[in-house]
């Protein structure tokens, strides 16, 4: 459905609903959780391969990890899951995990250190998309047998150099850290695929839920694991229904056919919030909206111009209008709720200040091209910026294209300015620090297209070394301070204008308690939900 039809349908439904307030009329059973969600991004449910949002939701509830993030206490960071404790060697390179005893997989097989070693090795050896999360510790298909091993019934991992323990453990809370049942998986191996084909559509975990079925673009059904080591979940059955349209999700919620609607647009959120029996729950997510200035551009590379652009964003205006409820102002590369996140947002919309800075830089009649993907909210942000820039004497030409077209030019360092979004890959500050503020080789030949700093030809002015230091700092508190310092410098000097952080608004029936989409750091959890 294109933008026009969406708007028209939203407006039509909004008008009709506003004239005819609905009341929730029915309820789902007390031991069943029904969620309306867009799940068409699920491509696989193998934890070694899954890298999409809806797929990660399944994984989080089906697979236990060595360490996990408690949905009831996300601020606490990682906690013991299948590993009850861990010891770090003196050189900081080896971590030995003691496994929890008496835990079984859904198959009834016991969870052992051998399963944990197999799961991590398997993820490295399969080398699927999320494998880089483990590969950054020096694990390769060739050395996985030695670097990930079992000694005296304990799991032992040895990294290529010393890293902050918090960094390693945070990464192990990601989807790729899911521990699979070796015996079941290998019984389904085909042509040496380590059970990948089978696990794409089946599950072999020990988590609070087991996967009953995944019907692409239709539904996911989970049933509770009565033998879960931390107690069987209250919701014995969870059904996630694929409902693409916001208006349809809202109607299902208001009729009581679903308990939670996760993809309501702002109009439907406003409408649903006025309905009896429904509440709106906001959670900050990891996606950041930002502008990036190419430092190859002679004018954009001037420090005053970089500063000026940060004053040309109508942060409040956008937040309170077309981004209402969907985004909040955030001017740092670590999303709020991340370890080391900063809540400093010093820049405000100030045309005069921007003009002064541009005059200081001696910039006149500047004309730049800004690349934007064809997504409504991004185009609107681009237009807002275009208007503000015009008042400061900068002509902004907006180029709208498909994701592929715009990203290709961004990755080739061809755009003057890029307007886009970035989401973290795993729940550790390194995930964003290592791309926004890290660029060891700024030459074209380096072709480090995965690094945002490189894409914008920014040499980071010394932040690269600070990021390297932070990722090896063993003391958690010191590490937090290091990221706060890096971000303070980044705000002032970088060519990135970080503007907003996404908010996920779930519309929830008011008998639902403890709902969590996982904030910015992880995925949705179902086992703690009660009615």
């Amino acid at each position: 459905m294109n933008v026009f039809t969406r708007l028209l349908s939203g407006a039509a439904l909004g008008l009709a609903v506003s004239l005819t307030p609905l009341t929730a009329t029915a309820e789902t059973p007390p031991n069943m959780l029904v969620i309306a969600h867009r799940i068409d991004d699920i491509t696989t449910v193998d934890p070694a391969e899954s890298f999409e949002f809806a797929g990660s939701d399944i994984s989080r509830n089906v697979y236990s990890r060595l360490v996990y993030l408690d949905p009831m206490d996300l601020e606490a960071g990682y906690k013991p899951d299948l590993a009850t404790s861990w010891e770090v060697s003196e050189d900081g390179k080896t971590i030995t995990f003691t496994m929890r005893e008496g835990v079984t997989f859904h198959s009834g097989n016991p969870v052992r250190a051998e399963d944990a070693a197999f799961s991590l090795r398997r993820a490295v050896m399969l080398d699927k998309t999320p494998a880089f999360i483990l590969a950054q510790f020096g694990f390769t298909p060739e050395n996985a047998e030695e670097t990930i091993r079992v000694e005296d019934g304990k799991l032992v991992i040895t990294t290529d150099k010393k890293y902050a323990t918090s960094f390693v453990l945070n990464c192990l809370t990601a989807t790729i850290g899911g521990i699979v049942d070796m015996e079941t998986v290998m019984a389904n191996e085909v042509d040496g695929d380590m059970g990948n084909t089978w696990l794409k559509t089946n599950s072999a975990g020990s988590g609070p839920y087991k996967l009953d079925s995944w019907k692409p673009n239709e539904s996911v059904t989970l049933s509770s694991n009565p033998d879960y080591y931390d107690g069987a979940p209250t919701m014995e059955r969870v059904i996630v229904r694929h409902v693409l349209e916001s208006a349809s999700q809202r109607l299902l919620l208001e009729r009581g056919d679903v308990d939670i609607a996760r993809n309501l647009n702002p109009e439907d959120v406003a409408g649903a919030s006025a309905t009896d029996g429904i509440k709106i729950e906001d959670e900050l997510k990891g996606r950041l909206m930002y502008l990036a200035l190419n430092q190859k551009h002679p004018e954009l590379s001037k420090p005053e111009v970089r500063q000026a652009f940060k004053y040309l964003i109508d942060y409040e205006g956008m937040k309170n209008s077309f981004l209402s409820g969907q985004y909040t102002i955030h001017q740092n590369f670590l999303p709020a709720t991340y370890l080391g996140a900063s809540d400093e947002n010093p820049f405000i919309y100030n045309i005069e200040k921007a003009k002064e800075l541009l005059a200081e830089a001696g910039v006149e009649n500047l004309e730049v091209e800004i690349g934007v993907r064809e997504a409504q909210e991004r185009i609107e942000i681009g237009q807002s910026f275009q208007n503000a820039a015009a008042q400061a004497g900068i002509k902004v030409n907006i180029t709208v294209g498909t994701a592929k077209q715009i990203l290709a030019r961004y990755r080739a360092r061809e755009l003057d300015v890029y307007l886009g979004a970035w989401g973290p890959d795993y729940p550790d500050p390194q995930t964003n620090a290592g791309t926004f503020a890290y660029n060891p080789d700024n030459s074209d030949e380096a072709n480090a297209t995965g690094l945002l700093a490189w894409r914008n030809s920014w040499d980071t002015g010394g932040l690269t070394e600070k990021v390297e230091a932070a990722v090896t700092e063993g003391d958690r508190d010191k590490r937090v301070q290091m990221y706060l310092d890096i971000q303070a410098e980044f705000r002032e000097t970088s060519p990135f204008v970080v503007m907003f952080q996404q908010i996920e608004q779930s519309a929830v029936r008011d008998n639902i308690a403890n709902w969590s989409t996982g904030q910015a750091v992880t995925s949705a959890a179902y086992w703690q939900v009660t009615k």
């Binding site: 998309t129 079925s213 229904r241 109607l251 208001e254």
Partner: protein, 339 residues
Amino acid sequence: MPLPNWLRTTLLTLGSIAVTLLGLLFVTFVIGRVMPIDPVLAIVGERASQSTYDAVFQELGLDKPLIVQFGYYIWDVIRLDFGTSLLNARPVSEDLARVFPATLELATLGIFIGIVLGVPLGVVAAVRKGSWIDQVARVVALVGYSMPIFWLGLMGLLIFYGILGWVGGPGRVGIFYVDVVPSVTGMILIDAALDGNWDVFKNAFSHIILPASLLGYYSLAYISRMTRSFMLEQLSAEYITTARVKGMSEWDVVWKHAFKNIRVQLITVIALSYANLLEGSVLTEIIFSWPGIGSYITTALLSADMNAVLGGTVVVGLIFIMLNIFSDLLYKVFDPRAR
């Protein structure tokens, strides 16, 4: 020795089907390969390493020449193997076996509603040309043509499901009835009837009736206008005047003479309408969360899942071909000149 007539006709029909299918496969295959979407990127994501990208590139056979890829594809299709969906890792044939019955069920009920209401409406509008019935039929058809289907769908959901609660909501069946009856045909109404589970049947019916009525309404708009036009042409013919002069009742004049002569044309109109519905009405499927072939192909296209797109396109192509053959057969039944 010359071939018997029936054998010649059958061979010619099969040959034309084969050529049409081959052309269809070729066009869709080429379009699939020249589309500005990278199927590898669609699978591995933007942040995958080059080695991961290369491995998947080879796994998909994209390193081979286009003509070789097409050859492999034809061979697979002959064996009814449409490959594996790049995005959900399942055989496309399995996916199609799941989504096509959903569309078939919806479209069949839709066209049934369209015919049962549309044909009589068109006939009456022609017989009472200029009367208030004709005006009503015109307005009904005009609204059917001009109203966006998503708008009518949302309004229908809001009124009949949201406010009145007369029908089921989005989805094929309520959550309590999911997977309750064994899937034999993939069409829940039929499966529930075969299983004798009338609770499931009633629930499924309450879910299908609104989207089917919506599709039926759109078919009705077209069918009624075409019926009216065909009937007007027949009613002004001399043999109708003769029949009336002979004192034949108006009922017989209309239904036994005029209507009899528009059946062949109507078959074409109905077949086309049915084929359009069987392609899958994407917007209806989205609004009603109906997991049919229209939304399947659209999602696959937007996700660069070319195996799924090609598989879906072949199925849609086959539908058109089958309906054409079926229409030809009906022509022969209703019109001796076509035999």
